[in-house]
Amino acid sequence: MFRIIKKSLKIGVVTGQYQKGEPAAVPVVPEVKKKAGLFKRSFAIREVDTGSCNACEMEMNALMNPVYDAEQFGIHIAASPRHADALIVTGPVTVNMERALKDAHKQTPDPKLVIALGDCAIHCGMFKGCYAVTGPVERHIPVDVRIPGCPPRPADILEALSELRNGRP
């Protein structure tokens, strides 16, 4: 027990020890901001992977580590789309995942936001046109926010979510 406390005291607080992210290049549309305002200080996200290379997942996971600690801003990951305020979709939509994505979107209660995370989700990246890929996320479900990058840094994701929620990360 003593060892655990000693270690924690030695490390101290690491939250915020990262380089601040770039502000989003494309500002969020006012209607989307209005919709996001409904969620106030609690924002539940469901992550759906429709064919990413898993780098975007790694960065979403990093968002929850003690350094970025997105939880402190009321952002948490919901275990089911039915508990979610927003869907974060990564990867180009593959032929095999198309139906699952639409189902998850249908199961998310309204009002909801859809965030396309990473270049693949926005414009299919280097998988564009391939037989196994049916197109970007917006071809299947309406997308509200786009966070570009391959993959976007966690700091950039936080910045984008903050912009979405009017400076409240």
């Binding site: 064919g51 990413s52 990867g91 995942m97 280097m126 391939c130």
Partner: protein, 530 residues
Amino acid sequence: MPEARLCDDVLKVAFPAIRQNAPVCAKSSHFVVPKDLLPAITHYLHTQPNFRGRLTLLWACDHRPVRDTYGLYYLFTLEGSHHWVMLSTELIGNDRLFPSITPHIHAAHWYEREIRDMFGLIPQGHPDLRRLVRHEHWPKGMHPLRKDFPWDRVLGRQQGEHHFRHIEGEGVFIVPVGPIHAGIIESGHFRFSVAGEPIMQLELRHFWKHRGVEKLFEQQTLIDALPLAERVSGDTTVGHGLAYCQAVETLLHLEVPRRATYLRTLFLELERLSNHLGDIGAMCNDTAYALAHAHCGRMKERIMQLNDRLTGSRFLRGAIRVGGVTRDIDNGRLTEIVEELNRIQLDFSEVGAIIFANASLTDRLETTGILHERTAWDHAVMGVVGRASGMDCDLRRDRPFAAYDALPVNVALYRYGDVRARLRVRGDEIHESIRLIRELRGKIPDGPIANEPSRSPDPGDWTLSAVEGWRGEILYMVMAGEGGRIHRCKVRDPSFVNWPAIQWAVLGNIIPDFPLINKSFNLSYAGNDL
């Protein structure tokens, strides 16, 4: 190597009908085998005590338009000498049938089903001919890797149903999970049959994320396809990038400067460090031990930020190029890296002492998800999972690449095959990686960091390349086509081999332990589905 030549002779005496070809890469032999003889010779290679061949890779290739044949290639790694024995056979003209070797070599199970889906070649006698990559809604007759299948074809949708294996009996019920999971994980489907608490059967259904990577490779030139290789599995960016580059360099007869090989080794070890640290944390988190998760997440983040400072990418993307590396890391920088890693090692040792002193954690980890040595051997399991189940294989030691010929690796090996053993392997490898980077700093020579390719590849040339990524053996088979393009690129992430083994590791465990077992394997869905 006299020993290898002896093996070749033994094979030729046992099977006079086979013909020896020139080897395609170092430490290997290549035989052309009549297709009817395949089951017998593979069985012989697999079971003979002086061979004990492990099926390492099995792939097919459509040779059209050059010649109207399909080639089938079987690669075995011999135990002990780690020599590669490759068998190849050809299906000429309209011949679409080949004998299945799955009945006696279990490791071939998914490979043969994959070949059936991607090429439409039928493994006769295969015990399970359900579709693997093509889900039930794909129209009939779609075989994407055939040369007459256009890469940008729009697939239609048909009605269809996938039949899962099922167990019948009183009180047996089925728990389907996925493809979308509760955490931030990739997509895959798991179907458990349980009676009461213990799992009686687990069936995997993957390939939800099939993006057509191998077909996309064929649309690119050898030099330009590197970014695609880096995106096969995002967490193994360096592993896949390096394996691809090595294959291309062999085809272009391009020598890599010595300094660049050391820097490649550095990048590969940094990738191993960050992923192992994250995995240990995630495994602890799945036993609800949040403290260890927080500490490991913090250390992993330090490595990711170090990567970012070194190369401008947290995943080291774009750090490697064909012919070398893209940017030099001067010796002052290397000293900084070593100092930072020394601090992380001290930090990790303290956290490790806390983790392993925790009795309730040990209780969850020990005897959970045991993968027996025999099962591991039958499935040709490798990498971290293999080394936790007594499979003594590590390409860094067995077939040195990059700078590992000058940096001997101590391979972590455990025999229990439970979750704790997989945790211990990762812990040991973290210390070993840091030691390697320390040693590397002392040995790295000065010099250029990249050579420019000067020749174009000869069409039809092909080669194999193997890299020990943090998960295990990554293999690339690259065949050059006309005009510097790729004719065929077979990508094999270790996940493809290790996934089926998980179905055996979970038997008798309870479903709440499945996330823990799955995390201890930590296999890539993207690298598996391609």
